[in-house]
Symmetry: C2
Subunit: 462 residues, 2 copies
């Protein structure tokens, strides 16, 4: 008699947790050069582990920075679809250490949770696939999965994935695939399983406005020459209209609209706006683009946000000057259909067209930005993963999006395959903060989802 | 045969300059406590000098800070008008010393100029009255001037005249007068004698806008909660309308309009806007309230000026946040008919009425501000002084105003008498800067004006 997936996972639980704890003990902080050796050790540990789990091919891929791990388990059928599974083995810094109740790299199991840096983001979520894949094989009697699985575990995600696009381009042939499973996000709640279907992109700009060559006495000159701070206020005020829409010409061109189905599914999430406002630094009110709910605004609508603004006298006391300069840092969150470079260009053109007479404007943009990514809920991969997740959780799977993003758009664009988000983290996992944790029960649900996922994908993508 | 005024002044020139040099050698810097003894020495020197010049009453008036000098020369006719003459004997600091070509307190006579700190602002301008008064007496054969002259020479003007209003209130009876002659301003040019007819007042405010209790991640929250920097930009942009007028309700209520005659006289000043823009820090264009010239804007129209603005991330690089706070420092230049406290109240009400939902606003105001002062060109005192100045300069005297001000409004308000500005400084005297100078020929013209002034005032004010 064939073993049941759940029985297999339950039987493997202790070993699975013990192995994960070993990996979590390696402080693979990519943002701090002092831990570069640990990031490498983490890659090597994972490579050895994947080999032990049965992956026929396991390689450590070098970059000019920190290494990634690639592991491939080919399908028995050479014509079967291929699926890249993306995660990362590097972690965030842990400062301030005083806020941790236990050592961040001495994993502790308590009340059904595993507490350690990286437990949820992202080692735990990478790890459930190994148990899931083995469960799928053991319970189906197969020697190889029904799709070719290509696990790609990056080592620089928490430091900006700076070398990741080049790594993808270098290994584009080996990474050829029909879908990309991303396991680095969160679900709505432990009892409300959900899948992410898109992430906003980002582009930034700094605007400098120059007036007189030096600060002027406002008694002698005030009211008779342009004041760059007035110009800044006027320009930035004009960046939104009365409905909270961004006024850059062409900004919304091509934006993929929310479908009625998505909006209906978003609306079914048990969203408590008052509680959400509390998490938003006790914000006093929700505010944003007219015609959209709060969740739609943060997940599916582009924005222009002033992140910083300064000029003139900012110290104590008064100084009655017409200041020489004004500065602002502005960022744009982008959604499917928008391109960071086009938005940068639109901003530059808008600034040129809207700078008041007598003021000189300069726009600088740091890098190319992050492209948005999008995974339509009706796509075959998403539907397949939704079925797998539904089988594991025994309830309907809803949909979310995320307001920010990492290298997901690069994966989709460079590998030319659709994204499928499968993850079991929670928003209260305290990722990037002290006392990061993961719910062990959810890791096991993730493993169960993974056990079902490959067959569902094989059917859907064939 | 009676001596001619000009002959008397020319004969007294050398003694006059020698005495002034002695006074200028005392470093009476009121803004630096280390020089408090020197300010006192300056007051005592002046008191002794005035006594020697023949003033029957000379007193050093104490304040909680630095002393003033009061000297009275009663008219022969007890029914004659009384005139307060205001100036100050304290001076600005001299740093950076490296920018001075000669020692600031070792007066140097060169090319018809006297170079020293205080030469123009304001010791030289106080001093020309002593020569002028004596010239008037000597050439008229009188034993006492035709008006009672009450010279009041302050010792804290360069450090904000903090004790001056109280000093005026304390001695209000002794300072009772029919006009106040102010000798602490400038003329349009050496060959374009002019009189100031008003100074703008000032009031300041700091606006703080608060949103979330901490900076928020703009990926997670951007576009769905109010951003205090957006609110600040919108509010400050709305502080002016498209015509450059301030939008605070009631802001222009009671503003004394420019008369056609004043505008015509201002327009006759040889004003080179391109040259003025160069002095305005190479400003690229003149800009201000529609319907007014540049001179009218800085002299006779009230303004709202953003002096500083800050909030969010202002350091290097990007930080994609919704910031918790935004700040701005705003000052208002005020003209005749406006009251600093009323403008502060109007600003507070305007902020309360215009703060966007979800943002909390706080306005703080440092002190009560400076009231504007105004001296209508048609008033008897101004007309009398214009005649005296015209006789001395042999040409038509035009009118200017000043964009900022000192304690002039306090003098007018507390003593309840009209102001008359009589001064011979120039805008290029480098007051408050290194190498301050005064044109000796203009000091002598000032003395000549003073010689004629008392009779003109006696006729006009009687």
């Amino acid at each position: 008699m064939q073993v049941d997936v759940l029985d297999y996972i339950n039987a493997g639980r202790d070993r699975f947790i013990a192995d994960l704890r070993e990996w979590l003990a390696i402080p693979s902080i990519s943002g701090d050069p002092r831990y570069a050796g640990d990031v490498r050790r983490s890659a090597e540990w994972l490579a050895a582990h994947l080999k032990a789990q049965g992956f026929p091919t396991v390689e450590v891929w070098e970059t000019p920075g920190l290494p990634a791990v690639f592991a491939e388990w080919p399908a028995e059928d050479p014509g079967a679809p291929a699926v890249v599974v993306y995660g990362h083995h590097d972690v965030q810094p842990v400062e301030p250490l005083s806020e941790w109740d236990t050592d961040p790299f001495t994993p502790v199991e308590k009340d059904g949770r595993l507490i350690a840096r990286g437990a949820s983001d992202d080692k735990g979520q990478v790890f459930f696939h190994t148990l899931g894949i083995r469960a799928g094989l053991a319970t189906s009697g197969r020697q190889a999965p029904p799709v070719t699985i290509k696990l790609l575990v990056e080592g620089e995600e928490e430091s900006g994935s700076v070398h990741f696009p080049d790594l993808l381009r270098t290994h584009r042939d080996r990474l050829a695939c029909d879908a990309i499973v991303i396991s680095d996000t969160t679900m709505w709640a432990a009892d409300v399983p959900s899948m992410c279907t898109g992430m906003r992109g980002l582009t930034e700009a700094e605007l400098t406005l120059r007036g007189p060559s030096s600060d002027l006495h406002s008694g002698s000159f005030g009211g008779a020459v342009p004041n760059p701070l007035h110009a800044m206020a006027a320009m930035l005020a004009a960046l939104h209209d009365a409905d909270g829409r961004v006024t850059l010409p062409g900004f919304y061109d091509g934006v993929v609209p929310l479908t009625a189905e998505e909006r209906e599914l978003f609306a079914r999430l048990p969203f408590d706006e008052a509680a959400w406002l509390r998490t938003a630094g006790d914000s006093r009110a929700a505010y944003g683009e007219k015609g959209y709910t709060t969740l739609e605004r943060v997940w599916a609508r582009p924005t222009a946000e002033i992140n910083g603004m300064w000029g003139g006298h900012t110290g104590p006391g008064g100084k009655t000057i017409v200041p020489r300069e004004a500065h602002a840092k502005i960022s744009f969150r982008l959604v499917a259909g928008q391109d960071p470079i086009k938005v940068q260009d639109a901003f530059k053109e808008w600034v040129a067209a809207n700078t008041p007479v007598g003021v000189e404007a300069e726009v600088s943009v740091p890098g190319g930005g992050v492209r948005p990514c999008f995974s339509p809920i009706g796509s075959p991969g998403v539907q397949a993963a939704r079925r797998a997740m539904g089988r594991a959780f025994g309830t309907e799977v809803l949909f979310t999006r995320e307001g920010g993003s990492g290298p997901e758009a690069d994966l989709a664009d460079i590998l030319g395959a659709p994204l499928v988000f499968v993850a079991v983290g929670l928003d209260d996992d305290r990722i990037h903060a002290a006392n990061e944790k993961v719910e062990i029960a959810l890791l096991l649900k993730g493993a169960e989802t993974s056990a079902y996922l490959w067959e569902e994908l094989a059917d859907a993508l064939r």
